[in-house]
Point group: C2
Chain length 335, copies 2
């Protein structure tokens, strides 16, 4: 087995643009399809949709669905609509998450709640989701609907778990995995599974599993970045999760390893409404010194290996190679 | 044709309990089904769901669906799940509306946003909707899905129209009808249409039309109530819509009939952030004196007659009689 993870250090193989080169034209069709699905006569809807399509980012979920559909002989053209539905579901959940978190920026652009209003973001999230469903229903495939409505429920249950957390520091590694499976891995997994259902159904289960493990690795990598990235202005760790009192894997691993004085430093940060940059930098150092980041990275690599293993049964197609490269991309991401 | 509208003045025929007596057992099954559909392992979800099921109100949409399914020979048992889905979709949209409007009370109980939080109401609305869809998908009927996902879009477009309104007083009767069709009539219509699809498909189009006209009459009656009800404490008109600067049919009709000084009184109210009870009482008087309430009532009666006419082709069953009584109930409602 060629190790995608071993190739991880070659930056060129991890470039998203290369991963997408195989399905470049179809990806452009997906953007056109997204525009069609959300078009409406109301100027306010057009404005918000326009803003969101600008914000759409890397189209990672459509990329996965398109690649999955190409892992066998006959990719079906309906995968374009499916991919648009996946990205719109993702956007809808981001719009509601930003509204719930009162986030001001996303992907370098103002969020819907900050640019328009909280009201607009609640209803626009509903609109996007509902239009995506209509487009999905039009595909006439109950199996696709089954997978995707179940994912929606998982996304909301994940969010509710976050809202229900009363004692953040009591969060276990098991809780964390349950949460990132619901919040992140479920949709990446569904993107791969439903993509496979559009022309490569023999690989449906393998690609579902691949997507789930990829999603776990993706979220772990994201959570590590929050500890290792430095904000360009302050030069200190950005530590956004800590600022918002979110407990992720590096801290979960570090906590039981900390001396009681150091644990109190963490507790103080979590008891402070607006922790200072210095407080955050100190906790980041404690987590790093205890091996929390390193251990989290190893856990991420395990998920990445499981994702790679899931591809074992697939024949050697360019799409399979691109999916293997997507693992590298996820692990190497710097933003 | 027996006139349900003519019978409107006999209070006993308008009692919801009597309309529901035919389908009483099934309505209890619907509540059980709703509980099943929203059950979850997370205590916070159980708490919010429990609160919402208490708040569920009159189950008017399930009632319509169950009755519609009984207008021919063979009502199908899956109508129970369908009716639960309809009520959950309705609850989900109420939860988001209350969050958007910052409403504190609904049906005599605190709203989810006031009892829990804004965050919980956004995500719980998503959860309810998403679980309702899963239950709908499990019925395995793409036609039902087509009708209900289209309704969801209409509900959100209606809400977006309200959020987009910049000059409330420029709202025309046409705008108003478009809005209440999207916000209210669409779901009542879908309840009747999809109910018919569960055992009385020959009446699908007739019942769709009946439900739409009933829904229009329902909302007009609701909007009139806001002008005619008096708050028990102050003895003055409650005028909640005016307080929130919402323009409904009585005011739309009155505006062009007002002398310019009186119009300025209305404009002043709409330019005041928190209008006083006296301001509201004055505008209510102006609207009443100009015939706005009376004319709106006549418009409501037109919709009611159209709803009645739509039942013409149905054979004389107890369900048909109950649907005719539902028109009376809608027109006679005092709360």
């Amino acid at each position: 087995m060629t190790s995608a993870v071993a190739r991880a250090r070659t930056p060129s193989t991890a470039a998203l643009r290369e991963i997408q080169s195989l399905i470049k034209d179809r990806l452009e069709d997906v953007v056109v399809e997204m525009r069609r699905v959300v078009s409406a006569e109301l100027p306010l809807i057009e404005q918000v949709s326009g803003h969101l399509l600008q914000m759409r980012g890397k189209m990672f979920r459509p990329t996965l669905a398109l690649l999955a559909s190409e892992t066998a002989e006959q990719p079906e053209s309906r995968v374009v609509t499916l991919a648009a539905v996946l990205e719109l579901m993702h956007l809808a959940s981001l719009v509601h998450d930003d509204s719930v978190d009162h986030s001001a920026m996303r992907r370098g652009l103002p969020t819907v709640n900050s640019l328009f209003s909280h009201q607009v973001s609640v209803i626009m999230g509903d609109f996007l989701y509902s239009r995506a469903l209509e487009a999905l229903v039009a595909l006439g495939d109950l199996d696709l609907m089954r997978v995707l409505t179940s994912v929606s429920t998982q996304l909301t249950i994940g969010e509710m778990h976050q809202l229900a957390a009363v004692d953040a520091l009591a969060f276990t590694e098991q809780d964390y995995e349950m949460l990132i499976r619901a919040k992140t891995a479920s949709l990446l997994s569904a993107a791969c599974e439903t993509g496979a259902m559009c022309g490569a159904s023999a690989h449906r289960e393998a690609l579902r599993l691949y997507g789930e493990r990829l999603g776990m690795a993706f979220q772990v990598a994201d959570d590590i970045l929050d500890y290792t990235e430095t904000a360009s202005v302050t030069g200190k760790p950005s530590g956004l999760d800590l600022k918002e009192h979110k407990v992720t894997l590096p801290l979960i691993i570090a906590l039981p390893r900390l001396a009681s004085a150091d644990r109190r430093t963490v507790e103080t940060l979590f008891a402070t409404d607006l922790p200072s940059d210095d407080q955050i930098a100190e906790v980041v150092s404690l987590v790093a010194a205890s091996g929390g980041i390193e251990h989290a990275h190893r856990r991420g690599e395990e998920f990445a290996r499981e994702a790679e293993d899931a591809l074992d049964g697939l024949s050697d197609t360019p799409a399979r190679a691109a999916l293997a490269d997507a693992i590298v991309y996820v692990m190497d991401r710097r933003s």
